[in-house]
């Protein structure tokens, strides 16, 4: 009888111990889901930073195709937000090629990448020299230099769908001597 009792009690005790573990496991499972969501979130932000970093490395080489390699076909560029946006990847390529021709050595330096959710912000120093005549105005050969933040919006599948610069075109014009109308 004693032996039978031990045999009955032992599994019961173990069952209870495991039941407590099951409760802990459920709450730990919930935590695991929350943690894995947080980790996935951070992984996405790091991926987005990498995409933008590769894009800007191509920008600094004046490689328009490389710069917009991960842009979606319906990519929108708002530039400084003060003029009409440029819509589609092909139109953006033409606009950037125009910029590379106008400012021969345009480049970004000391770039600092931050990300939250779908957005990547890049804070850095930008400079360039006006070398090509445009709109009937002769190139002055003057340089511009300013700090700027560029914002990129990245889709779930890692496509750049939107870009916004911050520094106004007015700043560039005033620094390089381009006459504003």
């Amino acid at each position: 009888m004693k032996r039978s009792l031990i045999i009955i009690i032992l599994p019961a005790l173990l069952w209870t111990a495991c039941s407590n573990n099951t409760d802990t496991a459920i709450s730990s499972d919930k935590k695991a889901i929350k943690d894995s969501a947080a980790l996935a979130h951070i992984a996405k932000e790091e991926r987005n930073k990498r995409i933008v970093q590769q894009s800007l490395e191509a920008f600094n080489k004046h490689d328009v195709d490389g710069f917009l390699k991960d842009a979606s076909e319906d990519f929108i560029d708002y530039f400084d937000g003060l003029g009409p946006p440029v819509k589609t990847k092909d139109s953006a390529k033409k606009a950037y090629q125009y910029g590379f021709d106008m400012f021969g050595d345009v480049k970004g330096e000391d770039l600092k990448y931050s990300a939250e959710g779908d957005w990547v912000a890049v804070w850095g120093k930008w400079s360039g020299k006006w070398i090509k005549d445009v709109n009937g105005q002769k190139a002055t050969g003057k340089r511009y230099l300013f700090n700027d933040v560029d914002l990129f919006k990245i889709s779930e599948d890692g496509k750049i769908i939107e870009h916004r610069g911050t520094q106004a075109g007015i700043t560039v014009s005033l620094q390089v001597g381009y006459k504003l109308k």
């Binding site: 045999i7 931050s114 957005w119 912000a121 700027d148 504003l180």
Partner: protein, 182 residues
């Protein structure tokens, strides 16, 4: 005997199950450190974002004290980097009061926020009309509209240590007809 055998097997299975749970607990403990770091980072970023957005809301209410409520006494104002930085809450407050007096309707809207580590970046549209004298210059009544990014660095205690922005003051000055000091 059959019954006893059943209970022994049941007990053995229970033990194995419990042991497996223990092993997975150990391996999950090992991951906890990394996950805690992730949680801490997210918690800090959420806190920093809240502090900064409260400061910007106070700016829109032109409440200078509330804007600087979470600023460190030695906070640094770097502007766009083209001028000498300003050190300390009182100096920053004085400059802000002058700006609110000259442009009484200055406000920001349509914000996009990126909080990452110690930094919070706030992209937004800023507008205002130059209505009152500013540093000896008469108001032109002209308005400005610019986009800017305000960049804040916070310390571990949630105090704002630095503020930067990127839009050149030349842009605003050009739009409202203000002469920039040489």
């Amino acid at each position: 005997m059959k019954r006893i055998f059943f209970f022994i097997i049941a007990a053995a299975f229970s033990l194995v199950a419990c042991n497996n749970k223990s092993e997975s607990t150990v391996s999950s403990d090992a991951k906890d450190t990394a996950k805690t770091a992730v949680d801490d980072k997210e918690t800090k970023e959420i806190r920093n974002r809240k502090i900064v957005m409260e400061s910007i809301e106070a700016f829109n209410a032109h409440d200078v004290d509330a804007v600087m409520k979470e600023a460190d006494p030695n906070t640094m104002e770097y502007g766009d980097g083209s001028m000498t930085p300003i050190k300390g809450i009182d100096s920053v407050k004085a400059g802000m009061k002058m700006w609110f007096a000259a442009i009484p309707d200055v406000k920001g809207e349509d914000f996009k926020v990126v909080a990452d580590g110690d930094w919070v970046m706030v992209y937004g549209k800023w507008t205002g009309t130059w209505k009152n004298e500013f540093m000896g210059q008469k108001a032109t009544g002209k308005s400005f509209k610019i986009y800017d990014v305000d960049i804040f660095k916070l310390n571990e205690d949630g105090k704002i240590m630095e503020h930067h922005n990127v839009q050149s003051p030349q842009t605003t000055a050009y739009q409202i007809g203000m002469k920039m000091p040489k």
